[in-house]
């Protein structure tokens, strides 16, 4: 553990965290609301993509319905704040912990499946939970829950509440990226990557794959739970369609693949680019009505011609950079 913490001083992590921190500092310094909204979105993408990277990128398990943890965390925290008036921070942590516990229990079952079977099962889990929440009266059913505006008074008004959500998201993005780095540099990460390359060989070599996968899955569920909590707190309402949207799951996968899966810088680069691409496609009059089709073409070209993503490609071609980009 002590050894792995020493890794935090690595140059390839430090520059990345500094860049994220600087980016996060722009809105409070310029006091720009539009910048805050944009960067909040990017930070959320970073946290989500980097969380998914733990199970998808390092371990090689395609969790296609990963958004389910974002939704569950969001609902748990929202309900705690809504019914018991609990502060965002403990509610957020509770959301994350519930997600980790669910991932542990669910993982016992679904992590026994491999490849496409696992992917389908995770889609099924997401759809089942969505349908279930749709039917839970006390969570508002399909209409969801809405905050009474007074809830924000506890935080000194809605303005302060949103800033709090913003800072928490920035902190979370940094923590998830650092976690990714620590995992990658640890024996644990090495074990995960050996599962990705050849699970049977990993078992033969004495890796407790069951424990490793379980832990990786829990970690990758814990953070999205907290992201969901912050997002829906800021949003002011939560509904099943928004919380368990399969398309958001695919956005996460897209960002990881775009940046380069199994790398630490990849999810960051992927999130940043995705947010830009999305912005351009939605605003540009030429692409506005066709944004989905264009996104599809970009994704297809990426899969066909640059499957290791941008960071993977750069690391592959420019070996000098390998020391600085992880």
């Amino acid at each position: 553990m002590k050894d792995s913490l020493k890794n935090l001083y690595d140059i390839s992590l430090i520059w990345l965290l500094v860049v994220i921190a600087l980016m996060a500092a722009i809105p409070p310094l310029t006091n720009s609301i539009t910048m805050r909204e944009d960067i909040f979105l990017i930070l959320q993408y970073i946290a989500l993509a980097a969380s998914l990277n733990i199970i998808l990128g390092f371990t090689g398990y395609v969790s296609f319905g990963h958004i389910v943890y974002y939704g569950i965390g969001g609902y748990v925290a929202f309900a705690l704040m809504y019914f018991y008036n609990i502060h965002l921070i403990p509610a957020m942590i509770a959301g994350g912990i519930v997600c980790a516990i669910i991932a542990l229990l669910l993982g016992e079952a679904v992590l026994r499946l491999r490849g496409a079977y696992f992917a389908i099962a995770t889609i099924g889990v997401n759809e089942a939970v969505k349908a279930l929440v749709n039917n839970l009266e006390f969570l508002g059913g399909s209409a969801g829950l809405f905050f009474n505006f007074q809830i924000y008074q506890n935080y000194g008004g809605a303005g302060n509440a949103i800033w709090l959500a913003y800072y928490l998201m920035a902190l979370l993005a940094i923590v998830v990226i650092a976690t990714n780095f620590l995992i990658k540099k640890s024996k644990f990460g090495l074990g995960l990557m050996s599962i990705r390359e050849d699970e049977d060989a990993a078992i033969v070599l004495g890796i407790d794959t069951k424990k490793y996968k379980s832990l990786a899955y829990m970690l990758s569920a814990f953070f999205p739970g907290m992201v969901g909590a912050i997002f829906f707190f800021k949003n002011g309402n939560i509904e099943p369609v928004n919380a368990f949207h399969l398309l958001k799951s695919i956005e996460m996968i897209f960002m990881v693949v775009l940046g380069g899966f199994g790398t630490v810088t990849g999810p960051f680069v992927g999130s940043l680019l995705y947010e830009r691409i999305r912005g351009i496609l939605l605003v540009n009059p030429l692409f506005k009505d066709l944004h989905m089709a264009v996104a599809g073409i970009i994704l297809l070209l990426l899969i066909l011609f640059m499957p290791s993503g941008i960071i993977g490609y750069v690391r592959d071609k420019v070996s000098v950079l390998r020391r600085y980009i992880e």
Partner: protein, 287 residues
């Protein structure tokens, strides 16, 4: 209290609907069985089938059940093009690549579809009368779709078991390397299988369009149903898909007599996950 007429009525419509669901799922299943690819563009092609038959009917006045034959041909061509355009390069890559490649095809189709057709609901406006027996009324269109679904399934079986290309498809699905060593051009066979899978999806979409109103986004729901069906019947087994389809159709129409309709999806997807974990080979599968 559920009376007998209502029960018989729901069993029959569940059965007929199940046959169409089954046909849609067979396409997905064939592609999985032969190529080990989960086709995430399945729903988009179902929607494309709906719109194809709709255009043929409203613009060219081609009767839907004849239009279906054209849709079959169109599906075959589109499927083969999709295979060479999107899948051929990544067919041996890890499943993430094929999942995303087929998903990007889905995005392209739905994106273009939304652009061209918008998302307001469409419906095929024609009637086939109805069959009545006492208080039980069954729409002619439902009977016709059920029969057509059976015909297509039978044709697929005849093709897979009686013709040379069909046998080649089965050989490739059993062991691709061995099939190649026997002189089978596996790329062509994979493209053909994908084409057949897509054309079945489109035909199923066209049949569904004769019963229910639809939009370009409707395919997604049927795609998820197809997953449940395939898992029920066993991934890779075409006849299992039909059985799974009927099971699902019956669940949807009979169980809703007892519980709220909105709970049905909870049941379906919970079933999907449980079966995957407990018996991944499906209800009909061996060990």
């Amino acid at each position: 209290m559920i009376n007998a007429d209502v029960l018989i009525d729901s069993v029959i419509s569940g059965l007929l609907l199940g046959l169409v669901y089954g046909l849609a799922a067979i396409g997905l299943n064939l592609i999985w069985g032969v190529m080990k690819v989960i086709n995430l563009s399945h729903g988009a092609f179902i929607a494309l089938g709906m719109f194809s038959v709709w255009i043929l009917y409203t613009s060219f006045g081609i009767f839907p059940y004849i239009g279906i034959v054209l849709v079959l041909g169109l599906g075959l061509i589109l499927g083969i093009i999709t295979y060479f355009g999107a899948l051929h390069r990544v067919i041996d890559a890890p499943e993430l690549s094929t999942l995303l490649a087929t998903f990007s095809v889905s995005l392209i189709i739905i994106g273009l579809g939304t652009f061209i057709f918008k998302t307001n609901p469409k419906a095929l406006d024609f009637s086939m009368g109805s069959i009545e027996a006492g208080s039980i009324v069954i729409l002619g269109t439902k009977v016709a779709t059920g029969i057509i679904a059976i015909i297509f399934t039978a044709l697929l079986y005849a093709f897979l078991y009686r013709t040379r290309p069909g046998k080649a498809i089965r050989a490739v699905s059993m062991n691709r390397t061995a099939a190649e060593l026997m002189g089978i051009n596996s790329s062509l066979i994979l493209a053909l299988s994908f084409g057949i899978g897509i054309s079945l999806a489109m035909v199923a979409g066209a049949l569904i369009a004769t019963i229910f109103p639809f939009t370009i986004l409707s395919g997604g729901g049927y795609e998820l149903k197809s997953f449940v069906i395939c898992v029920l019947g066993g991934l890779g087994s075409p006849i299992g898909a039909l059985v799974g389809g009927i099971t699902l159709g019956l669940i949807e129409s009979v169980v809703t007599l007892g519980i709220q309709t909105s709970f049905v999806p909870v049941l379906e997807f919970a079933l999907l996950v449980v079966i995957l974990i407990v018996k991944p080979s499906g209800l009909l599968g061996g060990k």
